[in-house]
């Protein structure tokens, strides 16, 4: 549990970060809260000769809420998300999901940017951000661009972000209606056996639109348009829920690990998603 040697940098602005990334290319990596990266380094699964700490970089923090437009700086910690009353009012699913991530100690360090940039299928924020149709802002040598969360994940630890880019913020438009994040895990501090993010809007007694994403059930987060569509224009009754679950299960591809065999994971995914839909509908 001792990392290989590395050089440590602590730049104060984005330009400084990008300059270092350009200089060292693949040998450099930014560090946010370090709670995914440092364990990998200690296990020597990641050898990073040049480690760039983002803690002192200006302009990466803060949560701003402008009507329904929400912007979360990359260095916002999961604890910050939980503590932010305005955010809890505007998009309560963020607090609900953040409270199910790791434990309080990890949440004081782990950041939103790190969680979504990491690309680990076990991370909870990517699925949630896909559900919310969030946009990720990336800044690199060629300037700024945004990539939709739904287009960001390519494979485990492979994302649309290039080696020289830094993710600076996550933004999305809060939707009316109800949302829920349900997660089954073995214990506090564990990644999901199965987790589901659901957001839906209600018109009278029917569901107008729904967005459904799932976590740790494939090598990337799984946003399932078919599952959402199965709920739209229905009263979210048992048959509609079943159709949505069937659609979502067709999109996931879990693998066996210590959390259990594939058959179990698929079953639990269905149960967890059913619960998330019911809970979101009750709140809509």
């Amino acid at each position: 549990m001792i990392p290989a040697p590395f050089d440590y940098y602590r730049p104060t602005d984005i330009a400084g970060v990008i300059a270092l990334l350009e200089e060292h290319g693949d040998d450099a990596r930014v560090m946010a809260g370090g709670h995914s990266l440092i364990p990998m380094m200690k296990l020597r699964m990641a050898e990073i000769p040049h480690l760039i700490d983002l803690q002192d970089v200006a302009g990466l923090g803060g949560i701003t809420i402008d009507g329904s437009e929400i912007r979360i700086g990359a260095m916002t910690t999961q604890a910050d998300l939980i503590d932010h009353e305005g955010l809890a009012a505007a998009a309560p699913i963020l607090r609900e999901a953040a409270l199910q991530i790791a434990d309080p100690q990890v949440r004081y360090m782990g950041t939103v940017g790190g969680n979504v940039a990491n690309g680990d299928p076990g991370n909870d924020m990517p699925g949630l951000m896909q559900c919310l149709d969030a946009q990720f802002t990336l800044v690199g040598p060629d300037g700024e661009r945004t990539v939709a969360a739904r287009d960001f994940y390519e494979a485990a630890y492979m994302t649309a972000r290039t080696d020289e880019e830094v993710l600076t913020c996550v933004s999305f438009t809060a939707q009316p209606g109800g949302a829920a994040y349900e997660k089954q895990k073995r214990k506090i501090g564990d990644y999901a056996t199965a987790a589901a993010a659901v957001q839906l809007t209600r018109e009278g007694s029917t569901c107008a639109a729904a967005s459904i994403a799932m976590t740790n059930l494939s090598d990337v987060p799984v946003w399932s348009p078919a599952a959402g569509a199965a709920l739209a224009d229905t009263p979210v009754d048992d048959s509609a829920i079943k159709a949505a679950v069937d659609a979502a299960l067709a999109d996931i591809d879990p693998t066996e690990d210590n959390r259990g065999p594939v058959k179990f994971k698929r079953h639990v995914a269905g149960v967890i998603l059913t619960r998330a839909i019911k809970s979101a509908w009750a709140r809509a």
Partner: protein, 805 residues
């Protein structure tokens, strides 16, 4: 001046003696981060060691190239088996009569096995150098299943002569270690063959690991000037380590000082001797500098001693009315690559033959086959006396299965088979003499406290509701009644590497009436500094707050066999009481002299000797202590000291009744423990608060083991559970509330009647949690499902029973 006269009650309270809920004195330093653990020890010039470990579970080591590692700046030495061989230290004896490689000698037998030891000036350089050691392996077939191993042509232990006896008799296969038997096999089989009711079941107690908060480590320091070796380490038995180190190294025992500083939990993991200890010593001898080795969490989980891994094939017979008539058990014990169990020499399966439990079973037999596989060695007593938790789990599962077969309530089945109060001391069919017990009283108290009948009614209603489709949660009531055997043990039949399992206490009373006592044991969190002072306070009349308890330094403490198997209170605690009585006997003579009366005219009263019939004439212990050092008393030596070495006449037999009420979600396999009630009878209760703490801790470890904790391997022998992400350690969140209770049946042979309690909750807890899971599915016909009961395995039970259809 009324308040000048202390009442007798005040004096008793002042002592904080037996029965007082005295706060733990050691917690002041632990809670302030002021403990002194092995890794806190820093000596001038100290070097750091780290291991190259095998990535393979079974492979030939064709070559080891250390050149690149040696070339790294800061590397001082890289040791391999070749370097240890001239010292005959490339192998070492295990506590179980086997031998174990210190560093890979030609082959490796489990993943994580020590291959080379890198010594460097800095911990980071050592880790970098480990990566630079080039080892050429040739993979060999891997055996992870003990049943397969007993059939396979693959020879794991090529060092053992084919066909030659092992330490415990004949070996019938090259991967066989021993067959150990107890009881009357023929008579048992006869009873079972002709019985009215027989059930047979395979009960597996999976492989797990003690996983103490502090991992294992050592700092060795050889002083070449005075020839003295000092060894700091995570040792549950420091005196035995000194003797072994002397025998292995040839350094005279007086030139070795072993120190166990604060230990962050042991649970059996720190009883044995590990390659890291040996390599640090050799490296210090070679370099002339102190060498530290501290393993990390993954090394601890993968390579240091595991626990359990017992396949227990049981048969139990009974009359139609449920009176048990016989018990038969055959165990296939997976010991891994070397037999490194920590058991008393004569008992290769520990005290597993306590497996008749709390029941009056007329005839019984156990046979245990030890088997080698390509897994880490161990088989230690993880928070239990040697193999006692396996035994308790086995019998408590067999009882449940029998109750199902008889269609009887499992609480009632236990009640009609308990050993009755008047049968104590009770001779068990497998050879033990149970010292004392009152099982029916404890059971009735437990069942009444939890409202047992109402719980069963609620459970029956839940099953009906489930069948009607109104709920997806079943309810389990987990019962467990356990009897432990602890306090090893009588020297006539218990030894570790030839050292009798007595223990000791040495007391010095200072002139001003305070004291220091040293014991042969070593606390790893049990609170010895608190409780042993309480024993002494009651025995000597010196307040516990004025007594320092010291353990763990072999240069100062009297010889003892250490702390494991709940032996500290039964053995060292007895020595402490008896040493205290020696102090008191001398104090009585001094008091009589000071009062100018005959010795028999004074009697002990709390903290003083009083003149019989005239209690206003007295001498306090404080006055007596002072007199012992400043007066010439005819016929009495100056000073006030005593030593006692205690050889227990028998083990002690704590017992308890636990009930766990659990809701089980059949769709997700998740559980919710609604209620957990634990009644413990540990004989005389020294400190109720310490007991409660021990019970909470032990139950939480039992929860972990039953509900998720395991050391698992894939087919290639890769350890799949080498980090705390996968190895389950419950947090406060997963831990239920516990209700504790007690009855008090003193041990008749122990000086203060105490029996030991630190391990009871683990022994009784595991069957309580596991039985709750099984009981939830009893209405649907579940007989046996193996632990750990993590989510997917519970889901699998429901799936197999068709509950998802």
């Amino acid at each position: 001046m009324k308040d000048e006269v202390e009442s007798r009650d005040d004096r008793v309270a002042n002592l904080k003696g037996l029965g007082s809920a005295r706060k733990r004195v050691e917690d002041v330093r632990f809670t302030q981060g002021k403990g002194n653990y092995v890794d806190d020890i820093k000596l001038p010039g100290m070097l750091h060691g780290d291991f190259v470990r095998s990535p393979y579970a079974h492979a030939r080591v064709k070559s080891i190239n250390i050149d690149a590692a040696m070339a790294l700046d800061g590397v001082v030495a890289v040791l391999t088996a070749k370097d240890l061989e001239p010292l005959s230290l490339h192998w070492m004896p295990t506590l179980a009569g086997d031998k174990q490689m210190v560093l890979a000698d030609g082959k490796v037998l489990f993943q994580g096995q020590e291959v080379a030891f890198v010594v460097a000036r800095d911990r980071y350089v050592a880790a970098d150098a480990v990566e630079l050691v080039e080892v050429d392996y040739e993979e060999l077939p891997v055996l992870t299943d003990p049943f397969e191993a007993m059939k396979s042509d693959t020879v794991l232990r090529e060092d053992l002569e084919d066909g030659a006896d092992g330490a415990h008799g004949p070996r019938r296969h090259h991967n066989h270690i021993f067959l150990w038997e107890e009881g009357d096999k023929a008579a048992t089989e006869e009873v079972i063959d002709s019985a009215e009711v027989v059930v047979e079941e395979m009960v597996y107690y999976h492989r797990t690991h003690p996983c103490p908060l502090e991992t294992c480590g050592a700092v060795a320091s050889m002083d070449k000037v005075n020839g003295k070796l000092t060894l700091y380490g995570t040792f549950q038995a420091p005196h035995v380590v000194r003797t072994v180190a002397s025998l292995l190294s040839g350094i005279e025992e007086h030139n070795i000082r072993v120190v166990s500083p604060d230990i962050g939990g042991g649970f059996g993991n720190k009883v044995g001797v590990y390659p890291g200890y040996v390599c640090s010593i050799v490296a210090s001898i070679v370099t002339g500098l102190p060498v530290k080795w501290v393993e990390d969490r993954m090394e601890n989980l993968m390579a240091t001693a595991f626990a359990r891994d017992y396949w227990m094939q049981g048969k139990i017979s009974a009359t139609k009315e449920g009176k048990i008539t016989g018990l038969h058990c055959h165990v296939t014990a997976d010991h891994g690559a070397f037999d490194a169990c920590a058991d008393p020499t004569k008992y290769p399966a520990g005290f597993f033959h306590i497996c008749t439990g709390s029941y009056d079973i007329p005839v019984a037999y156990v046979g245990v086959d030890g088997v080698y596989t390509n897994k880490a060695p161990g088989g230690v007593a993880y928070r239990c006396s040697f193999r006692v938790t396996e035994a308790a789990y086995f019998i408590e599962r067999m009882i449940e299965v029998l109750a199902m077969e008889l269609n009887m309530d499992a609480a009632e089945l236990r009640r009609i088979n308990f050993i009755r109060k008047e049968q104590f001391p009770y001779q068990s069919a497998l050879g033990w003499e149970y010292d004392s017990g009152d099982y029916h009283t404890a059971w009735d108290k437990a069942l009444t406290s939890v409202g047992y009948d109402d719980l069963r009614r609620e459970q029956a209603e839940r099953v009906e509701a489930f069948k009607r489709g109104e709920t997806r949660k079943l309810m389990g009531i987990g019962l467990s009644f356990f009897t432990e055997i602890v306090g090893a043990g009588p020297v006539k039949n218990c030894d570790i590497l030839g050292m009798g399992m007595f223990d000791s206490c040495e007391i010095r009373i200072h002139p001003t009436g305070s004291a220091i006592a040293r014991l042969g044991t070593i606390s790893q969190g049990q609170g010895h500094a608190t409780t042993f002072a309480q024993i002494l306070a009651t025995e000597t009349g010196i307040p516990a707050d004025s007594i320092t308890i010291e353990e763990g330094d072999t240069d100062t403490a009297p010889y003892g066999l250490g702390t494991y198997g709940s032996r500290s209170t039964p053995v060292a605690g007895a020595a402490t009481a008896l040493a205290g009585r020696k102090i008191r006997a001398k104090a009585q003579m001094i008091a009589a002299y000071l009062l100018e009366v005959h010795d028999d005219d004074v009697e002990f009263d709390v903290d003083r000797f009083v003149l019989k019939g005239a209690p206003e004439r007295f001498k306090t212990m404080k006055e007596i202590a002072y007199a012992a050092y400043n007066q010439a008393i005819p016929g009495i030596e100056p000073g006030l000291e005593a030593v006692s070495y205690y050889d227990p006449p028998n083990m002690t037999y704590p017992f308890g009744a636990y009930v766990c009420v659990m809701d089980v979600d059949v769709d997700t396999g998740t559980t919710d423990i609604r209620q957990f009630y634990a009644l413990d009878d540990c004989g005389t209760r020294i400190n109720p608060m310490v007991i409660e703490g021990q019970v909470h801790g032990g139950l939480t470890e039992a929860l972990a083991i039953a509900m998720g904790q395991e050391i698992a391997y894939d087919d290639l022998g890769n350890c799949k559970t080498g980090t705390l992400m996968d190895f389950f350690i419950p947090t406060a969140w997963e831990t239920p509330n516990y209700v504790t209770d007690h009855t008090e049946t003193p041990s008749p042979h122990h000086p203060i009647g105490a029996k030991g309690v630190g391990e009871s909750p683990n022994v009784g807890g595991v069957p309580a949690f596991s039985n709750a899971v099984h009981d939830a599915f009893r209405a649907f016909g579940l007989r046996q499902a193996h632990m750990p009961h993590d989510h997917w395995r519970i889901w699998q039970i429901a799936n197999d029973l068709g509950l998802h259809d």
